[in-house]
Amino acid sequence: MSTQAGSKSAVPHVLDIRDLCVRFRTKRGIADALDHVSLSIPKSASVGLVGESGCGKSTLMKAAIDVLAENAEVTAGSVYYHDLDLLAAPAETVRQKRWAGISMITQSALNALNPVKKVGDQIVEAIRAHRNMSRKDAWARAEEMLQLVGVDPKRAREYPHQFSGGMRQRAIIAMSLVLSPDLVLADEPTTSLDVIVQDQIFRKIRSLQEELGFSLLLVTHDLGVVIENCDRIAVMYAGQVVEEGPVDQVVNTPFHPYTLGLKNSLPRIDAVSEPIAIPGGPPDPIEMPKGCRFAPRCPFAQDACRQTKPELVSVGAGHRAACIRQAEIPGLRAEAAKIGTWAKVAVKSEEVVE
């Protein structure tokens, strides 16, 4: 595993995002969506990307497949898929890499599927956009994939509205794997489903991954999902990666106060303590805080935090965090698990509002 994202290492990366900066032009001004984000996805690995809504997870994912919105602007950085910089490559080259190389499981299968086309046809058109295959063969392949994800292949002739939510999600998974891509991006793949179907879907994704060996970037706001499904984790806050590393290290010994806070929000089976929420909300992307972006909500923030922008530094094997007090964090973990520690911030932030 590489210790420095962006540097070449022995492990080949399927996707290598380096120093990516993305801004959005909005009516209110320029929104800072991604700030020098680096993220690598090793071959056949699962990387979880967690963070609150609006922290830039989806923007990062769209950048990874080069379908950013029209008002988005990449001001720096690159997105390498193997040796190809997707942001600099000609449109047709990028088109050929989409789906055949990088596919995606979307948040809402209902919206991603065209309501007036048969599910089978929508899989077939994905195949035929990249492979020189007859309609009949492509249809057979689509049916085969539906079977693989546990959907009756006969239902390929039906329309999306005739599918249940879980089946639609399975159909999207079948579609995402139909060209055997080596990278699958999954954007909150189970948000719209109930927990039992959620579990089935993830189990299906895991077993297919073992069988087919693709890499997975799993975007979610649910730390528990990442713990269960991923090898590595990247924690995003306000457009920056604040901590990343192997899942067990990051979860057991977090070095960023935001990760500590996220960990507190996990419901625990032993029920010794209630989940603790991080008070306040993410900063306005149009007016980001000058120093550490988490400082206004951080119980351990000092004056220096509000002045200096922290850099990602190594805190363990393949484990990096962006906190200027990272050396003191091991001593603060016990305190971070107490509800009172966070309550103080809540009081403070309310005072600021007044």
């Binding site: 088109r95 596919s103 991603a112 994905a126």
Partner: protein, 323 residues
């Protein structure tokens, strides 16, 4: 599906019956006496009486109504008060003239309008789009007769490219047989009314398709089609335009029936002997059998058009289920 069609057929008959009833009484309640246009009551009151009896206008209104219903149920449209010719014969020639002008024009208007609208919506935000939208809005707001007169002034009188009216050069086809409709002379006469009508009718599908496209482009499945690596052409026509077509398709029957009923304007401007012109003549002469039959025909065409479009809509959008 079969039950739906049967139910719709019953509805169609009821609609037609209601429309026939309204039409019958409407014309008879209007001032004017059909015999007036032929015989002056001041000069020959007896002859006028005789003519009233011959037309059956002396019978009580309700009896006339029942005779009218009975005749229509056997598709007997009677004789024209004015020319004494069979109404069905009068109409059949005129309806062909109207259809030959209106139908191709509407097909081109909707086909081209939808295509242009789709492209405008897809390549949105240019100066080209702004100017096309401006021109289309202006054209749509302009009255057809005025557009027709301008076209005659420019293309017939000033440039001399097209004849200003009529089906063919007078005297060329005294029999008005089918060969006339495929002659170069006929097409030459058709060109100008066709262009004016198409230019006017193209605006609505064009503007509607454009706004429908703008709404569809923001949908997730369009972005997803791009993520799937489909070619831009395929995303445009296979997804964005395909789905944007749905609201445009629903307007076809409505606009088509308006165009048929409104053909009177373009036919008058271009002296085009179609159904619309026949109606005007009939109303002016209180020629009830002709007017009734003409309105009946338009009603039938409208109802059939609506029905076909409803079935078409079901084919276009699988979410619509008929039961």
């Amino acid at each position: 599906m079969r039950r739906y069609i049967v139910r719709r057929l019953i509805h169609m008959v009821i609609t037609l019956f209601a429309m026939m009833t309204i039409m019958f009484f409407m014309f008879r309640l209007l001032p004017g006496d059909p015999t007036m246009t032929m015989i002056s009551s001041v000069m020959y009151p007896k002859a006028q009486e005789a003519m009233r009896a011959q037309f059956g206008l002396d019978k009580p209104l309700i009896e006339q109504y029942l005779i009218y219903l009975k005749n229509y149920s056997t598709l007997n449209f009677g004789y024209s008060f004015h020319s004494s010719r069979e109404v069905s014969e009068l109409l059949s020639g005129r309806i062909v003239n109207t259809l030959v002008l209106i139908l191709p024009s509407m097909i081109v208007a909707y086909g081209l309008g939808a295509l242009l609208g789709a492209l405008l919506g897809w390549y949105r935000g240019g100066r080209f789009e702004t100017s096309v939208v401006f021109v289309a809005t202006a054209l749509q707001a302009a009255p057809v007769f005025w557009l027709g007169m301008l076209a005659i002034l420019l293309f017939s009188i000033n440039l001399g490219w097209f004849p200003p009216g009529h089906l063919v050069t007078p005297g060329m086809f005294p029999d008005q047989d089918l060969r006339m409709y495929v002659s170069a002379d006929f097409l030459h006469h058709l060109a100008l009314p066709f262009l004016v009508h198409t230019a006017y009718q193209i605006c609505f599908p064009l503007l509607l398709m454009r706004s429908s496209m703008l709404a569809t482009i923001g949908e997730d499945f369009v972005e997803f089609a791009r993520i799937k690596g489909l070619r831009e052409r395929k995303i445009l026509f296979g997804h964005a335009a395909r789905n944007s077509l749905l609201p445009v398709a629903t307007t076809i029957p409505m606009i088509l029936s308006w165009a048929l009923a409104g053909s009177v304007v373009i036919e008058t401007v271009f002296s085009w002997p179609g159904l619309g012109k026949l109606m005007i003549e009939g109303v002016q002469r209180s020629d009830f059998p002709v007017v009734q039959a003409a309105f009946f025909l338009i009603a039938v065409l409208t109802i059939i058009g609506t029905f076909t479009a409803d079935l078409l809509y079901g084919l276009l959008d699988p979410r619509i289920v008929y039961d």
